[in-house]
Amino acid sequence: MSYFIYLTLLALAFIFSIWSKKSDQPLRIFPVLLLFSVLAEATVFVLVFVLGIKPQYLLVYHLYIPIEYTLLSMYFARTIKGRKTMIAYFILLGVVISLCVYLSLHRGFFSFPGMNLNVAGVVLIVWSVVALFTIKPVVNTAIYKIPVFWISIGFLVYYSGSFFHNFIYEYLKMSENKLAESLNDIINKGSNDVLYICLSIAFICSNRLMKST
């Protein structure tokens, strides 16, 4: 049930990202990012529920994480702006991608990419906090009406919420599979739901901001 709620929220966020008028240039990254998310989830769905291939589906996430990190950090770098930000973006991009590739090779492409998620997650938490603290004021607009506020909060909640879960999920699955799945439902899918709700709100805000300016 929670899986379908998660898929519905993802699909909704994707539709909103296409439908919304982009109040700023960097927001145009999101339809592409969410398209990758939808494709990844669709592939996982086919592999797991149609073909019944269980561990191999994790390969999709090993490929998806670097793409997601690249697009998201690009969004934050373009939102925060500045030469130093762009330098930081390129350096961190190199570091995170290298680490993800190393971890995938080291731990195997069919293992749960918890470490990969955490490596990308920690850097994205930093990007989110910086973006949150450097939101440029818009006249007659409260902070909660600005898209970057919801996007930052969404990723902040998602990556910080799933941080400990990502560490323990694989080990827990080996010893207590039921508990691992139930935790995954509550923590991972829960924080994912929050993320996609936040993204949808951000796109609606973007539309309103566009109309009011």
Partner: protein, 262 residues
């Protein structure tokens, strides 16, 4: 994992701490945004103020140039023609007291008056003339002209020692006083004008009072008839002066101007 209740407590405390941290981060971000927003709004207001001031300066500059040009035209062209006409009239030799002689004599008087009036008008419009004379001299001259016209009982008083005022500020202050006196002449319906200049250590207070029919200042400002009033206010704002207009129906009007001297 979670083999004992302690571990569950630790996980619960860790989650609570995490949520607390998130809430703290969001709260700080919101507060910081509010501060930046306030600064941003203030900056926009300051920019708008500077822009308005510049616009007003440009408008007044154009107005002054136009007035200066008109003044020069009156002095150099119309004034010269009238002087020539008067000269021609003086050359006509008629000794007998005929009706033509009387007409020519009257015409000479009229031309002389026109020349004098135009000279006064030219002075009033001329920026250089205004900045070359002190505000007291200018107002004394204007009050004399008003007295001569005979329609108003004029009282001009200066309290304190005259202090210097920058030429630009003097020009604008003088234009405000001109506008106020013009309004009295056109709309007051009274017969008395009192102008008081009070020199204080850092400011010059000017009060222009009449005994006319008065009006409701709010109604004037809201009815769209207060263009002159807006002009005076804008000019005052440009010099950093305080402009106050007080009136009540049937009780005349008072214009108060407080001009900074430095």
């Amino acid at each position: 994992m979670f083999q004992s209740p302690d571990e569950i407590y630790v996980a619960a405390i860790a989650s609570a701490m995490l949520m607390l941290l998130l809430i703290t981060v969001i709260t700080i971000a919101v507060i910081k945004y509010q501060n930046r927003y306030r600064v941003h709004v203030r900056e926009i207001a300051e920019l708008k103020y500077v822009y308005d001031q510049e616009l007003l300066k440009a408008q007044l500059e154009i107005q002054e140039r136009t007035l200066h040009l008109i003044s020069q035209e009156i002095h150099d062209n119309v004034g010269q023609i009238l002087s020539l006409a008067k000269l021609n009239l003086n050359t006509i030799l008629i000794h007998d007291p005929t009706p033509e002689h009387e007409k020519i004599s009257n015409t000479k008087d009229l031309v002389s008056k026109a020349i004098a009036d135009l000279r006064d008008l030219s002075k009033n419009l001329n920026r250089d003339y205004i900045t070359d004379h002190s505000l007291i001299q200018l107002l004394q001259s204007d009050m004399e002209i008003l007295k001569k016209a005979g329609e108003f009982n004029v009282l001009f008083e200066v309290i304190g020692n005259e202090m210097p005022i920058s030429p630009q500020r003097q020009l604008i202050t003088y234009r405000i006083i001109q506008e106020a006196i013009n309004n009295i002449i056109k709309h007051s319906g009274g017969d008395r004008i009192v102008v008081v200049m009070h020199y204080l250590p850092t400011t010059l207070e000017i009060t222009i009072t009449d005994n006319g029919v008065g009006c409701d200042p709010n109604e004037i400002m809201n009815s769209g008839r207060g263009a002159g009033m807006h002009n005076m206010q804008n000019r005052a704002r440009l010099t950093g002066a305080l402009f106050v207009f007080e009136s009540e129906p049937g009780r005349g009007c008072v214009v108060r101007l407080r001009v900074p001297l430095n």
